[in-house]
């Protein structure tokens, strides 16, 4: 295939020979670039990450610590000890789910900024059931708590879905506002009606031990569930009519309407599915890690989901490596602080730089020139 450019060269035309000689080497370089450009989806995030690590190294150096040592500490802590690995996978679990939540939105052209609020509702919903069904057998209380988390997240996201579908309210605005409302209302709930008796800090009582999600060695059960869901969602999007509806609405609304797809239904369903995933993430955090609802314990998980979904370029399976990466960084950051005194916020800088480089098309342009794929906009504009 590659040799067409050399064997099928223009015949012996007058201008032929001199041009041919001059063209050989740039031609080959082009061929390599063409091949690389095909793997743009993988290469751009990797290069972005390397750039981010370099910038992070400079920041660490400024604080008087050897960057190589700092990074080694971070990764060793997160990956090479059993407790570190468990912690990493526990962190990655809600991240996969909130990443998937954002991915589902992106596939129908919606930017769900509200995974954070949906996740909090999932966490408190699961905690409520885990506390109030105390005494019930595990086969009842555990599924009930998980379902409660899923339902709470779905309903909360469904509000934004309905507003978008039937009133045209832009989902970015509604989900940002719903995030604030969720944080406020849930804070109130755990400060008053659901507060642990006799406690001064705002948190719920501990859940019944029967509702706890266990670990299989260093692998949390929740992590396995998250992996399975990533696979399931990838399959749904690729192989089912529901997935086809989602992608059609996301890619061309007018064509979706022509094709007989009911856009308001799809938009609402997608938001509910998105919220259900985020809510499950919150529920697993409550049942598998925290053991109760505690204000601040799930901070930022939903927002990391946005980073993960964009790193994964809206591909459900790619959320797994993306979430693992963020999980490793977040999990290793604690040890890093302990051993070197470097603030864990350096991880936020790494992630922010990576996200910036991935989402703006500049990097792809620098790497691939005009071979860069047209900046596919992942979401609909403000007008639609």
């Amino acid at each position: 295939m590659n040799d067409t450019s050399t064997t099928d060269r223009p015949g012996p035309s007058p201008a032929g020979p001199p041009r041919e000689q001059g063209a050989t080497s740039p031609e080959n370089r082009r061929g390599v670039l063409d091949v690389l450009a095909r793997f743009q989806g993988v290469l751009v995030p990797i290069v972005a990450l390397l750039v981010a690590f370099a910038i992070g190294a400079a920041l660490i150096r400024l604080q008087g610590v050897n960057p190589a040592f700092a990074y080694t500490t971070l990764f060793r802590d997160a990956l090479l000890t059993e407790s570190g690995l468990l912690r990493t996978l526990q962190k990655a679990t809600p991240l996969i789910l909130s990443g998937l939540a954002v991915v589902i939105g992106l596939r129908v052209g919606l930017f769900n900024i509200g995974a954070q609020g949906q996740l909090l509702w999932g966490a408190i919903g699961a905690a409520y059931v885990g506390v109030h069904l105390a005494g019930a057998p595990a086969v009842v209380i555990l599924p009930a708590a998980l379902l409660a988390g899923i339902a709470c997240g779905a309903v909360w996201a469904g509000i934004a879905g309905l507003l978008k579908a039937y009133r045209g309210v832009h989902e970015v605005i509604s989900t940002i506002m719903l995030n604030s409302v969720a944080a406020g209302v849930i804070d109130w709930l755990v400060s008053f009606p659901l507060k642990e008796p006799g406690q001064s800090i705002p948190r719920s009582s501990a859940i019944d031990p029967a509702a706890e999600l266990s670990n299989l060695g260093f692998v949390p059960v929740g992590f396995v569930v998250a992996l399975a869901l990533a696979g399931l969602i990838a399959w749904i999007l690729r192989r089912t009519t529901a997935g086809f509806r989602f992608d059609t609405v996301g890619a061309n609304r007018d064509a979706a309407h022509y094709a007989g797809i009911r856009i308001p239904l799809v938009v609402t369903a997608a938001m509910c599915a998105s919220g259900a995933l985020a809510g499950l993430g919150g529920a697993i955090e409550t049942l598998g890690v925290v053991g109760r609802y505690e204000t601040g314990s799930s901070a930022g998980l939903g927002f990391d989901g946005i980073t993960i979904a964009l790193l994964a370029r809206a591909n459900p399976l790619a959320t797994i490596p993306a979430a693992l990466l963020v999980g490793v960084l977040r999990s290793g950051a604690a040890g890093l602080q302990f051993e070197t005194g470097i603030q864990p916020e350096v991880v936020d800088v790494l992630l922010a730089v990576t996200l910036l480089l991935v989402s703006i098309p500049v990097l792809a342009r620098v790497l691939f020139g005009r071979r860069a794929r047209d900046g596919v906009s992942l979401t609909s504009g403000w007008g639609s």
Binding site: M1, P10, R19, G260, V376
Partner: protein, 537 residues
């Protein structure tokens, strides 16, 4: 000696295995109109995109006014005096006509865009070239024909020595087309060269001085228009002789398939577009809807297809339910007045939408997915919500072959196809569903002569198999030659029914112009439409 404005030498562009352009050499002199002719996918758009700096050649040289530096991009091309109107619109839908035209070179006063000045400039351009536009209209509200006019004005609003037009007439009405051909000749006489792409041989003969013919990415011929006629051009293009007239037997109409009674439909702005309209289409006949664009055709078709809610009246579909499109329960009479698109389709309505980019296709999907775009839930293509990929691919392989869709394979992105091949996807999908009622809006827009011949024969075959066909086309020739019966629509009403075999063009032009004051002028123009306009040599 004439000045050589543009010289291409050995220009080559491959997309993977596809040889979009291969070793193409040609030239354009100052003050010339040059036409590029070729089948769908022959490489015409690719070639002009390279001249405009949108695509970088793999090999070869593009020399503009003696300057051999490679063209680095569209802004470089514009700086060197090249303007281009694309095959697919590049306008910002939420902005006004004026804003779109001055975008990128806005008149500035006091640090802000001087809108009154911009507006005046647009008005002046519009008057100078006789391309009427409302400077304050929002693009999203305009019909495609008007949008195309805005595109042309936008290109002309910069100083250009070479204007490239990629299928500029595909969406224009015959009068607008004639106006544009006149503008092209005027530009050439005032020293601006024009390169234009078209599939309409009449336009080539009317406006161009010379023609280059491309086939399979290669330049296979160059002729002066003075030395050739339509049949000769067609043969040069396709490599065989082409039947330019539709061959069909007289219709044998059966039962009524579509009954529209007292229909009212509003346009996007909520204004009445179709008012108290009634019509009927019978099985086994092709009913043509002739009318100047924007007289309610689009709204009527969309209402029948279920994409637009009528504000009054009734739409009924009847039939014996023997055609494949008829789902269970669709036998007999179905009320489609308030049906959604999926129900209209299940009842047996097929619809080739007039705007294929917007409604007919999803550019990021594969050809295979686009060929089932509105039938993806059909039991052939999905079971219990799981898509049957083998069946979807088989369908695609068969239709790609049958409709001669030129692409690397069935999994190619539809957006990467040439314009005419995109159109063939839509037509193939709708015809293959064997609808009871086929509505075809501009079914051959942007399609090459060989494929027009094929699509026409397929529409006739659908008719002969018992489908009712409602044909909407801006091509009067197409309406008159393909239809068994012609309805004239004006201002949302059917104003006449005529026999396409006997009606004369002047008469139908008068009817299409309705009660307008300039009816006589229009009628004259239509009457003259059949004659060849002599290019000014």
């Amino acid at each position: 000696m004439t000045e050589r404005l543009l010289q291409l030498r050995g220009v080559t562009k491959h997309y993977g295995p596809v040889r979009a352009n291969h070793d193409i050499s040609l030239h354009v002199d100052r003050g010339e109109v040059v036409a590029l002719l070729g089948e769908n996918g022959a490489g015409k758009s690719t070639l002009v995109k390279q001249i405009f700096g949108l695509v970088t050649p793999d090999a070869g040289e593009i020399v503009v006014k003696g300057d051999t530096r490679p063209i680095s991009g569209p802004s470089d091309a514009i700086a060197r005096g090249i303007g281009m109107v694309h095959q697919h619109f590049q306008l910002v839908p939420v902005m006004t006509v004026t804003e779109n035209i001055v975008l990128g070179h806005e008149p500035i006063s006091g640090g802000r865009v001087d809108l009154p000045a911009a507006r005046a400039r647009v008005q002046e351009l519009s008057d100078r070239y006789g391309l009427a536009v409302d400077p304050d209209a929002e693009i999203a509200d305009l019909p495609v024909g008007t949008q195309q006019r805005v595109e042309i004005l936008k290109a002309l609003s910069r100083d250009v020595d070479l204007l490239i037009l990629d299928e500029p007439t595909a969406v224009l009405t015959p009068q607008e087309t004639d106006e544009l051909l006149r503008v092209m000749r005027e530009l050439a006489e005032s020293g601006t060269s024009v390169v234009f792409i078209t599939h309409k041989l009449r336009e080539v003969l009317a406006a161009a001085d010379r023609v280059y013919v491309l086939r399979g990415g290669q330049q296979v011929g160059e002729v002066a228009t003075a030395d050739v006629d339509e049949a000769g051009l067609a043969e040069l293009m396709v490599g065989r002789s082409v039947v330019l007239r539709v061959e069909k037997d007289p219709a044998a109409p059966g039962e009524e398939v579509l009954a529209v009674e007292g229909l009212h439909v509003a346009d996007d702005r909520g204004l009445p577009a179709v008012a108290d309209l009634s019509l009927s289409v019978r099985a086994g006949e092709i009913v043509g809807l002739a009318g100047v664009e924007g007289n309610g055709q689009r709204e009527l078709v969309e209402a029948i297809a279920g994409m637009r809610r009528p504000t009054g009246g009734r739409i009924h579909l009847r039939g014996d339910g023997t055609t494949q499109g008829g789902a269970s329960g669709a036998v007999g009479e179905v009320d489609l007045t308030r049906a959604r698109p999926d129900r209209a389709r299940a009842a047996g309505v097929g619809h080739v939408p007039e705007d294929r980019e917007r409604h007919g296709l999803v550019g990021s999907f594969s050809i295979a997915d686009n060929l089932v775009l509105n039938r993806f839930t059909h039991r052939l293509f999905a079971r219990r919500g799981v898509r049957n990929r083998a069946a979807i691919d088989d369908n695609a392989t068969r239709l790609r072959e049958q409709f001669d869709i030129r692409s690397a394979g069935i999994h190619t992105r539809a957006g990467a196809l040439s314009g005419g091949n995109k159109q063939k996807i839509v037509v193939a999908r709708e015809l293959s569903a064997r609808p009871r009622l086929l509505m075809a809006a501009q079914p051959t827009r942007g399609v090459d002569v060989g494929s027009i011949e094929f699509i026409h024969s397929q529409v006739v075959a659908a008719r002969d198999a018992g489908a009712g066909v409602l044909l909407v086309s801006a091509e009067l020739d197409e309406v008159l030659s393909l239809s068994d019966r012609v309805l004239v629509i004006h201002d949302g009403h059917i104003v006449a029914e005529v026999d396409p075999a006997t009606i004369d063009r002047a008469e139908i032009g008068r009817l299409m112009a309705g009660g307008r004051r300039d009816a006589q002028a229009l009628a004259d123009e239509w009457g003259a439409g059949g004659e060849k306009q002599g290019p000014a040599h």
